[in-house]
Symmetry: C3
């Protein structure tokens, strides 16, 4: 395993190849560029290719995308949308989902406050979309400090700004000695005067030909004063991985329906997925997981035949709350499940604060988050994943709570 | 007449010339391009020219425009603003209006929710501006389904999003055999997750040297579930066609003032226009029209001398409600009239729903809308138009309602 | 002194060099360009250089900037942000401030209504940022005329739109005869249908090698009807000019704390600045100044050693109200003071109207505003400035009001 608890990019042996692609400090944004392993490490490493290009047409005009083709996985990263990952191709199989939003929408076409704070949904289509950093979750009233320093009640918008902020810095690093890893490093700033001054420093690491990749994220509070933040990894899967008979595997300590709609189903079936259903209304579940002694946990989504799965490995002390979003509506309307580790559940921040689930970063401090994604494409690999997850559960009972239990203010309990 | 009830573009004989100008699927947006009849049909057809260019400077930075010069009419279409028509030049005469907004404003400079939902007015300047598709009309509270599937009260914005959505696909087709028609085909998507999934598929058709052109619009509901929609063709005329003594000709079944301000005038004079008046406050009228047996109706706006007019021909079963917007304010403030066939009147959608004027499209279905515009530039042509319209009225009485009758909820009647 | 009460650009002797850099009317925006004195006036004038360039990376993608290097001062003007001045370099010393917003943010990445109308703060970082024109000051409810001509209550946004509007016209003029002045002339339009139709016509004038420059602004009401407006010059200073021991020098007739927070300090110390303090909450003071007989006044900000200062000279009949914004928070959070002459104080417009501080422009009229900035870099120059300001005070007493006195509606007094 790679560098858990380290910033991977500092662990490189030898002098890596380095190319800056975006840098606001030097007024740089390379519109079109590509490089192959042959140019960097000749025949010493397996064939890989990295390509940066700029989209055109409709609401994707001006969007920058970077494809990392590791030889096996092809990962499409979108600097213009907060370094989100649009999709991962595992050979011919697309891991991601078919959002009704068919373009990779440029932030300039979206007004987050629109439609009661749901403007974020105008561009939502990622495989991995980070939600935060000032807040994530449902729109609605919460208290902020306004420009005069006074407490002021305002409307938060769904899932925050992060996915609609363009990266201010992006560089590719490629090791020139074994294990010849590729590292895509980006910085996304969520800064304002009289408000949050956050920075997401993210590195995606993958080895040539590998079936897995690693995300190392630092959330930095650039302010001299402490600041609340929220971060949720909105990871989304549609067809073909998601189908009737797909299953979520997770070492589950506790599961609670998010609201009355989620409570309609049998809570014991929360991990099973149905086929696309016209008019299906989303069901959301709030999970807590078991981890190994070091806090590491593993979750997976497997297809019906159990010959294809994607897994996520992370530490529950970094990301203690897992949200499962089951949205098995018609294909046309976005048949998808979201498997979303976070610092919190997606209730409005005002409620999450009541529940003690809004972390605070001291001034000039950062917090580290890491997730490793792996793509399993045979019965054996999938069976191995299932065993690994069962070993973490280790026979410990799951607490199935049938009724929703949203955070409540003292006065309304 | 051309292909009423057909998608005109499918009726082409021979192999037409085809050029794709914008296509998000292939990541294409041709910045600058032009073609003439000589290159397509040599001397066989009358001279025409089509030019695509990109604007710069101020709030028009990055806006794509396409001019179709048919030999007589020059039509300026704006893909970046929902395939609206900015103006039509009939020889030296500009048909359109002088909006105080002097740029063709790029959507990225406009926030629709701003100023109480009136942000749309920051860029309004079109000859033909489509209003919709989730809603059009006045801003204000209405119920939507939010991201959880719950009914939620939110603020709609004036006239919806459609005019602020860039086309995701645009192609020119030109027939290479008689009648050598030009067809500009565009697709504008109004899609979001957990919300409307509409598509406007529009074709503008004109023959070389013709004094008329034809709009064929399909509104497609891409969702698997039914969806309400609203569509209004905000067609606007200023000087020189609009002047003191100009008249609207329409086979009018019924006319009602929109509000108390409109009721201030003599309802029998609703069709007559005055000169520019400083500080004039708009007067709006709600009309229902007579049509021929097949539902076709014709309306026109004629100047004082009755030697110039523009007419619109359409079917009242497609567009049952006609809104007349008289805004004869000072030239500097936008001296203009809007003649606006629609599926509804421009009351807030919550009111239009009460009146039964919000149509619903079943899942994966579309509805067709067609309008033919004709430009008349002699006393004889204008007299002919007047006769055509009178023939539809055919002596049938108009119901003049002097008091406004806005839709009301049961409880408030 | 230069042309007070004149539009300077009309006062040029001889045929000046002229270059249009942005013009929406001719569809022009020169991406990259520069010129030097050598090309314009050979060796006759001191060396100067003007450069236009376009930024890239992060939220500054597509922003146009123009640097005027006069030989001594280098002034960075941002056409894309309402012709604001980002910073002034006086030799090696940067006059401006270190906003936590590190990019020169493009308007398309900002939604002004966001976060309770505080979206403006997402891009605030200028040395000189004009606030207006429909309104400036605090966000919150006020009455506007809506699209129907009715009085409607809506939320104004912080400091208005002006800093988020791209210039529609920019030209450089350079005199080819003595005194060889450079003039950067820009037009920024704040126009909408059914709303304000303003235009800012601004000229920045500087002589080769000069330590001062002159701003001549015309605010034009293009409407035929009268219109309220507000204009405030948000001029901002951070390190090194601002430090513990810096002082504001101003011939002060009256000073009142803006709110209870500002009243916490000793009102007699309002003009003294402290060091950066983590968590410091801004203190704002409302000043009225004395002027000379002709209304001209001078104010200055001097560093602790009194060997560096910046001064502003303007007429109190043009800009009767001066706001002092003391925001001596941590460096990381924006250690800054704003010295802000305006037509009003930054209370919400609804309050300013009650106080009679919202001016009205008749239809098709303009009003003139002029400010001269000078940069003093020796003890002698700074002492001279102090004497000039004391001479205006001329021993007249300052009225120190210890309690805030915000405008109140009659009913709530």
């Amino acid at each position: 395993m790679w560098g858990w608890g380290l910033i991977v990019i500092t662990a490189v042996s030898g002098e890596p190849f380095q190319k800056t692609l975006i840098d606001r400090a030097t007024n740089l944004n390379v519109a079109s560029w590509s490089i192959t392993s042959r140019e960097v490490c000749s025949d010493a490493c397996d064939a890989w290719k990295v390509t940066k290009s700029r989209l055109a047409g409709g609401k994707q005009e001006g969007v920058d995308v970077i494809e990392i083709d590791s030889g096996r996985l092809r990962i499409l990263v979108v600097p213009t949308r907060g370094m989100g990952i649009w999709q991962v191709m595992d050979g011919d199989v697309r891991i991601g989902w078919n959002s009704p939003v068919k373009e990779i929408v440029h932030p300039s076409f979206v007004s987050l406050p629109a439609r009661g704070g749901l403007g974020w949904l105008d561009g939502f289509g990622e495989f991995l979309c980070r939600c935060g950093l000032e807040n994530n979750g449902h729109p609605g009233r919460d208290t902020i400090k306004d420009n005069t320093g006074a407490e002021s009640s305002t409307d938060l918008t769904l899932h925050g700004k992060l996915a609609y902020l363009p990266a201010e810095f992006v560089e590719l690093r490629a090791e020139t000695t074994a294990p010849y890893r590729l590292m895509l490093h980006g910085i996304v700033a969520e800064r304002m005067m009289h408000g949050p001054k956050f920075c997401l420093d993210t590195t995606l690491t993958i080895g040539p030909g590998s079936h897995r990749f690693h995300i190392t994220d630092k959330v930095v509070n650039e302010s001299a004063s402490p600041a609340e933040f929220e971060l949720l990894y909105h990871t989304n899967f549609g067809s073909p991985l998601l189908e009737a008979g797909s299953e979520l595997w997770a070492p589950t300590r506790k599961v609670v329906p998010f609201n009355d709609r989620a409570a309609e189903g049998n809570i014991h079936d929360f991990a099973k997925f149905g086929p696309p259903e016209v008019g299906f209304v989303e069901q959301v579940y709030c999970l807590e997981l078991f981890g190994r002694d070091n806090g590491m946990t593993v979750i997976g989504l497997a297809n019906k035949a159990k010959d294809r799965a994607v897994s996520m490995k992370y530490k529950t002390d970094q990301l203690p709350y897992l949200t499962l979003w089951k949205n098995t509506t018609a294909i046309e309307d976005g048949y998808v499940t979201g498997i979303e580790p976070g610092t919190n559940y997606p209730y409005n921040r005002s409620l999450e604060r009541l529940a003690g689930r809004v972390p605070k970063l001291p001034g000039k401090q950062h917090r580290l988050f890491e997730i490793e994604f792996a793509f399993h494409s045979s019965k054996d690999e999938v069976a191995g994943l299932q065993k690994e997850i069962e070993a973490i559960q280790a026979g410990q009972a799951t607490d199935f709570i049938p009724k929703p239990n949203p955070p409540k203010a003292e006065s309304s309990r």
